[in-house]
């Protein structure tokens, strides 16, 4: 089985090289060579699929002679987690990347074969080039089919922390999001090569960018949720290098999705849009470089297998080649841009791009600064969460302010009377809400200002939706409900975007609440003793030790009251599995829309006393709800119209 998998990879690599050559030589000329290239593409996909099937078969049949299977699975693992072992390790996740990329390539290329005849050969060649790179890495630096000199009786199993439903979705969505940027990048470069720099490449690219963007969003939010419920520190985002690596391309893609509207409406920012796509793809390569090269340490990184320099090489080729090509074509891209007024929606989009790319730069600098500092001064330093919070907090607040302003300013120019009328009621109501918060005891100015703007944004969006619904219901004689859905469906990109903004604000509220107003307390309790935090009182009732088929569990029960009213019991625990050396923590969380009560069992003594850490995290639920809203907004924005299926796109 291992041999079949390995040979399939070798053949796939050869097929990918042939495909690149066939596309490049056939471009613009011999359609039979192009047909052959298309077959090469499909063959590479088939071969990669054989390889994947071989690995999955080995995992499912417990073929422990394969080193990868022995390292990440064991006989006890349930089927779902057996499959997830596919992406648990370095070699497997690389194979997943190579396979998903070629599958995506087949879907895109076949879909566009007749629509973008000039771009397709070059775009396909570039995608296959990236594919060949990953196949090369698999064959020469991280072979998933490497065999052990003996066959162990059982494998090492999955790290217990990974046995969580998040493991089934978080890695694949992140990986898919990263590799998804290869498609828009390939089409952008193809447009530069063929000098077809009108709207064609943008139309092709926007939808695939949203797919990658959505996937990264799900991966990031799910990762945050997983960290929050599974790890024992009560937080959801540590500004860890690999977390940052997943955020940076997403921010750049968000900027792109806005500035692309400027290009379609006003013919502006063509060079900038090209640069953004190149940057998004480069950041996704950089992200995977960080994860697999051991340059920075993180809970997410794989052990160094020497593939770091290859990623840097790819990055150098991509950056030099793409920006060189962009420079060469800069005159064709220079636009007849004009703006009527400095105060217009166009300006808010420009500022939006500035802020998002600025935040990306700040995150990038903070992430690599330890390496830079050590190279320059020889001293190791840490750049932790407080740096990122202090620098990004104001930037993201400014983005939210902008979100509120932009939907009220029309395209081209804003008239002063319009502005005032549109701003007035949302501003007044937002002040009321902030004043309310001040009255109940919130005194720090930053969260007060932030909440003001969050409420402002939501109100301006509701106002837009209300106005549009009323206009449509009058125009089409529909009732308000029908008009509302009809409104959204008739203009999905615009209203999907508004829903995305609501999601962003919900996340912001969650972040503000849990960052500024989190409280925590630690205590050692004997059975019967209590501790208090805020309005909650927790009484330690007792400890239980029991064994299940795969775990040995120590659980503690606490009964909780809120302002004297009993609200139930919480059971934080720790467990040990036969294969893990350290105990794994399972926290107890009680979530309400207002706040989360979060209890961790830190340790215990032979005399029956236990040590607990308790946190109250306000508004955290906003993050998860906001993430879901963001996702559906993005889905609506992406959804194709029936009319659009005919021409490009």
């Amino acid at each position: 089985m291992a041999d079949i998998g390995y040979i399939a990879l070798v053949l796939a690599f050869i097929a990918s090289l042939y495909t690149i050559a066939a596309f490049l030589f056939g471009a613009g000329r011999r359609s039979d060579l192009l047909e052959s290239a298309r077959n090469g593409l499909i063959a590479t996909c088939a071969l990669a699929s054989v390889s994947v099937a071989a690995l999955l078969y080995a995992v499912v049949t417990h073929d422990f002679q394969i080193a990868y299977v022995a390292s990440y699975t064991n006989r006890d693992l349930s089927p779902a987690y057996l499959i997830s072992a596919f992406w648990a390790g370095n070699a497997g996740s690389l194979l997943f990347w190579a396979w998903m990329l070629i599958v995506l390539a087949v879907v895109v290329v076949l879909h566009k074969w007749n629509k973008n005849r000039e771009l397709i050969p070059y775009a396909s060649a570039i995608i296959m080039g990236v594919e060949a790179f990953f196949l090369f890495l698999l064959l020469f630096t991280a072979n998933p089919f490497e065999k052990l000199p003996f066959t162990p009786a059982d494998g090492r199993g999955l790290n217990p922390l990974l046995e969580n439903p998040g493991m089934l979705i978080h890695p694949p969505t992140l990986l898919f999001g990263y590799l998804g940027f290869t498609i828009p990048f390939a089409f952008a470069i193809a447009a530069l090569i063929t000098n077809r720099l009108g709207d064609e490449w943008i139309v092709s690219v926007r939808r695939w960018t949203i797919i990658a963007w959505l996937s990264l969003l799900v991966g990031n939010v799910l990762g945050a949720w997983w960290a929050y419920v599974e790890l024992g520190w009560g937080g959801y985002w540590a500004w860890d290098p690999v977390e940052n690596a997943g955020l940076m391309p997403w921010l750049v893609a968000t900027a792109f999705l806005h500035s692309v509207m400027m290009q379609r409406r006003r013919g502006m920012l063509k060079i900038w849009n090209m640069a953004l796509i190149i940057l998004a793809f480069s950041l996704s390569i950089f992200g995977t470089f960080l994860t697999r090269s051991g340059v920075l340490s993180s809970v997410h990184t794989f052990a160094d297998t020497g593939m770091g320099p290859f990623f840097l090489g790819l990055l150098a080729v991509v950056l030099v080649g793409s920006f060189g090509l962009l420079w060469y074509r800069r005159e064709e891209l220079r636009s007849e841009a004009e703006m009527e007024s400095l105060v217009s929606r166009e300006s808010t989009f420009l500022l939006n791009n500035l802020l998002l790319v600025g935040a990306t730069f700040a995150i990038f600098l903070g992430t690599v600064f330890p390496v830079i500092s050590e190279a320059v001064r020889g001293d190791k330093i840490s750049v932790g969460a407080p740096f990122f919070n202090q620098v990004n907090g104001p930037i993201f607040l400014a983005v939210i302010v902008l979100t509120g302003i932009c939907s009220l300013i029309g395209w081209r120019r804003a008239s002063k009377t319009n502005l005032l009328r549109n701003f007035l009621w949302p501003a007044v109501l937002s002040i009321v809400v902030s004043a309310g918060l001040f009255l109940i005891g919130v005194r720090q100015w930053l969260p007060l200002a932030a909440v003001f703007f969050c409420v402002f944004v939501v109100l301006t969006i509701f106002y837009e939706l209300a106005r549009g619904t009323r206009a449509r219901s009058r125009m089409k004689a529909e009732n308000y409900g029908k008009a509302f859905f009809g409104l959204i469906w008739a203009n999905k990109p615009r209203y999907g975007g508004y829903i995305v903004h609501i999601g962003v604000v919900l996340i912001a509220i969650g972040v503000i609440g849990s960052s500024f107003f989190q409280v925590q307390s630690e205590a050692i309790l004997k059975p019967g003793e209590s501790m208090s935090l805020g309005k909650y009182t927790l009484t330690y009732e007792g400890m239980d030790n029991y064994v299940t088929e795969s775990k040995s569990i120590t659980s503690t029960t606490l009964s909780v009251t809120n302002s004297g009213e009993p609200i139930g019991k919480m059971v934080p625990l720790k467990y040990v599995t036969p294969t893990s050396e350290q105990p794994t923590t399972e926290v107890a969380i009680r979530s309400t829309p207002v706040e989360d009560l979060y209890v961790i069992l830190v340790g215990w003594d032979a005399d029956g006393s236990a040590s607990f850490k308790v946190l109250v995290n306000p508004a955290v639920a906003g993050i998860w709800v906001g993430g879901i809203v963001l996702f559906f907004g993005g889905l609506i924005a992406f959804w194709p119209d029936r009319r659009e299926r005919l021409p490009g796109g």
Binding site: D199, L231, G232, W233, G234, G235, A238, D240, R264, R265, S297, S298, V299, A337, E338, M339, E340, S341, L342, V343, E346, S347, L350, L351, L354, L355, G358, F361, A362, L365, G366, F369, P370, S373, V376, D379, K380, I381, S382, V383, G384, A385, P386, F387, Q390, V391, G393, P394, I395, A398, V401, Q444, L446, N491, Q520, E581, P583, T584, T585, I600
Partner: protein, 167 residues
Amino acid sequence: MLKTLVSVALIVLAVSIFVSPALAADTATVNSIAAKVMCQCGCGKTVLNCDDQGCTTREEMLSTIRQGLDNGRSENQIIQTFVARYGEKVLVEPPKQGFNLVVWVTPFAALVFGAGLVFVMARQWVNRSKTLPTAPAGGSAEADPKEDKYRRRLEKELKDFEEKGFR
């Protein structure tokens, strides 16, 4: 109006970056100090947040903090003890001095520079729309640049409408 808005925003940004640590300077507690030093077990988190099951340094560092507070030492003195023992890497964020200023200042400087660039280009675009020469068009003597600007815009919007429909 946009200029004032942008300038105000940037000033607020700058102030908040450099003032926020000062705002947080209330009484030092074990937790507030533990949030400022990195746990040395390799988990990449602060002593406050370290949840690594195999960690031995967390307790050690926590007791150093408690001892220091009991002996009446200030937050800064306790943190300097850690720096003397482990080096600058024990600090959760680089101190705002020397070479480390690069990481604090550069993002802000880049934003200011970017904002300036955006402003200059936007103004150029606005001026361009006011001073573009009249289109030679098909013979008619449209000497009026305003009329011409509207005709250009109308043509563009009609073309847009054909391609994209209602927006």
